[in-house]
């Protein structure tokens, strides 16, 4: 509990107490916690001296600021037209099959969350996805299995 308080305090010290520092602070919490808990938003509101509803309202506007618990690795597969034309659905099936979850779900061990997202800007190397901030392009079911296996290996030490 106090951990979040400390994190928010640190972030506000680093970025500043003004309203225009809200986004960097929210992003900082996501970086550590993967999502914004109610407690973290209330804490941010207190530190920046703005209503908690304002923090919540701002956070929920942005698709990368999740307010529900997420896995350690958030997979965002691009679903916009260029990727969709180049076999995005097959890649999605491979991901779902391998992780045994559907879009919007997190694996029971809390490691992977599978999401779809709008244009990532890699249309010329479609299909594309990001895992946290790491970009992967020219995906195929085979390639996506290799990539995920790397992550799974990493996790299992």
């Amino acid at each position: 509990m106090d951990q979040i308080k400390e994190l928010v305090h640190e972030l506000v010290q680093k970025h500043g107490h003004n309203r225009e520092n809200l986004l960097p602070v929210l992003q900082g919490v996501i970086e550590h916690e993967m999502y914004l808990s109610e407690q973290s938003m209330v804490e941010i509101a207190r530190e920046l001296d703005i209503p908690a509803a304002e923090v919540y309202g701002t956070a929920t506007f942005y698709s990368f600021l999740q307010t529900k618990p997420m896995g350690k690795y958030i997979i965002r597969l691009c679903k916009t037209i260029s990727c969709s034309m180049k076999g995005k659905n097959q890649v999605l099936l491979a991901l779902q099959d391998m992780l045994n979850i559907k879009i919007g779900q997190t694996t029971p061990d809390g490691k992977f969350t599978l999401l779809q997202t709008n244009c990532l800007g890699w249309c010329h190397e479609a299909p594309a996805m990001v895992i946290n901030h790491e970009v992967y392009t020219n995906l195929s079911p085979e390639r996506v299995r290799e990539i995920l296996n790397e992550y799974i290996k990493l996790e299992n030490g």
Partner: protein, 371 residues
């Protein structure tokens, strides 16, 4: 840069105006005029903002510029600061490009060191977005920078008088800034000599879809779509989407009569684009393409104004209902009217431009929407 900022502000503005450079984000506002208006605005504090919230489907050229030649953009921002009287620049980078921030930050550091050396008081900072297409709209971007929901403001006032924090602000697309660098370095005439009337200079194009050579290309404005397809098509190009989801779809039979550039009085059909060029061959269903765009708009509409919030939803549901047979084909005409209403009544460019792709796809490929 040193030789540029030794010239007078007026001279630089005149050079930029004579180049006839227009904004490369897609809207095409004359850049020289924007800088002139902001330089004339009276305020102690002004801002230079680089719009790197490249979110239009099919666009990826700004990422390339920031990866390969960040110094062109940083220099352009500082020169703009010198001209308009600003000491602070901000790059608003979309969250999807966060992986670029490490390199960009070190480029900024190096650049600021150089600025100090030549006694130019200008600082630049990087601000990351968080996955919202609408924040590419300039006033929504200001809101986002101010720590709020990215909801577009009413215009006027325009950014030239009241932008970020209510101060006069120049906000330019990444590519536009890079072009100003080239113009000041090599002269307006070299730039002006490229392109055609109303659409001067070259532009970066992001080419994707059914093409044997997807990628980023610099081409002269004013080229005919037929020439473009001859160069980039796969021999079976059925249609090209010019300008991303918010742009226009051009069917094969209109390739010859369509040029790529800004609309002027004498140039016939000319389509502006932020650089997104998506090619579709005859294996593609244009229904699927439209459905994909509408899903995009439905999700990315900020929800602030009713025409856009409800309109995007109803268009999305409407074409599905027609396809399923739950609605008669004539329902498409109602939807066309709805999209026109959005064009007139939506608050910002997002809601207003949904009609572009909707009308151009439904009118040219009506049978594909129904069967």
């Amino acid at each position: 840069m040193l030789s540029t900022i030794k010239r007078s502000r007026q001279e630089l503005i005149n050079e930029l105006i004579s180049s006839e450079l227009k904004g490369r984000g897609g809207a095409g506002f004359p850049t020289g005029l924007k800088w002139k208006l902001t330089s004339e605005a009276k305020s102690e504090k002004k801002y230079v903002i680089c719009n790197a919230d490249e979110g239009e489907p099919g666009t990826f050229k700004d990422r390339e510029i920031l990866t390969k030649v960040p110094f062109k953009v940083l220099t352009a921002m500082a020169v703009c600061g010198y001209i308009i009287g600003s000491d602070e620049g901000i790059i608003y980078l979309r969250g999807e490009y966060q992986y670029l921030s490490k390199n960009l930050n070190s480029a900024i550091q190096e650049f600021e060191y150089y600025c100090k050396k030549i006694n130019l008081n200008f600082s630049i900072r990087l601000f990351l977005g968080s996955g919202a297409y609408i924040c590419g709209e300039e006033t929504a971007l200001f809101e986002s920078l101010e720590g709020k929901r990215g909801e577009p403001r009413n215009k006027p006032p325009y950014p030239t008088t009241a932008g970020f924090m209510g101060k006069p602000t120049v906000i330019n697309n990444v590519e536009t800034l890079a072009h100003t660098y080239t113009i000041f370095k090599y002269g307006a005439k070299k730039f002006y000599d490229l392109g055609v009337q109303y659409s001067r200079g070259s532009k970066l194009f992001s080419v994707s879809g059914d093409t044997p050579k997807p990628g980023i290309y610099e081409l002269e404005l004013g080229m005919s779509l037929q020439d473009f397809v001859d160069e980039f098509g796969d021999g079976d190009t059925k249609a090209v989407q010019v300008g991303g989801a918010s742009g226009f779809l051009v069917p094969r039979k209109k390739f010859g009569e369509t040029a790529i550039g800004f609309q002027g009085k004498l140039v016939g059909i000319s389509l502006p684009t932020g650089g997104s060029m998506m090619l579709f061959n005859s294996t593609r269903s244009m229904y699927n393409v439209l459905d994909n765009y509408l899903e995009f708009f439905k999700e990315e509409s900020c929800g602030q104004c009713t025409p856009c919030r409800v309109g995007c939803q109803q268009l999305y549901l409407g074409i599905k209902a027609v396809k399923r047979g739950d609605r008669p084909a004539t329902y498409l005409d109602k939807l066309l009217k709805l999209s026109e209403t959005m064009q007139y009544t939506a608050k910002c460019g997002l809601g207003q431009s949904v009609a572009n792709s909707f009308i151009s796809i439904v009118e040219n490929f009506r049978e594909e929407m129904i069967y």
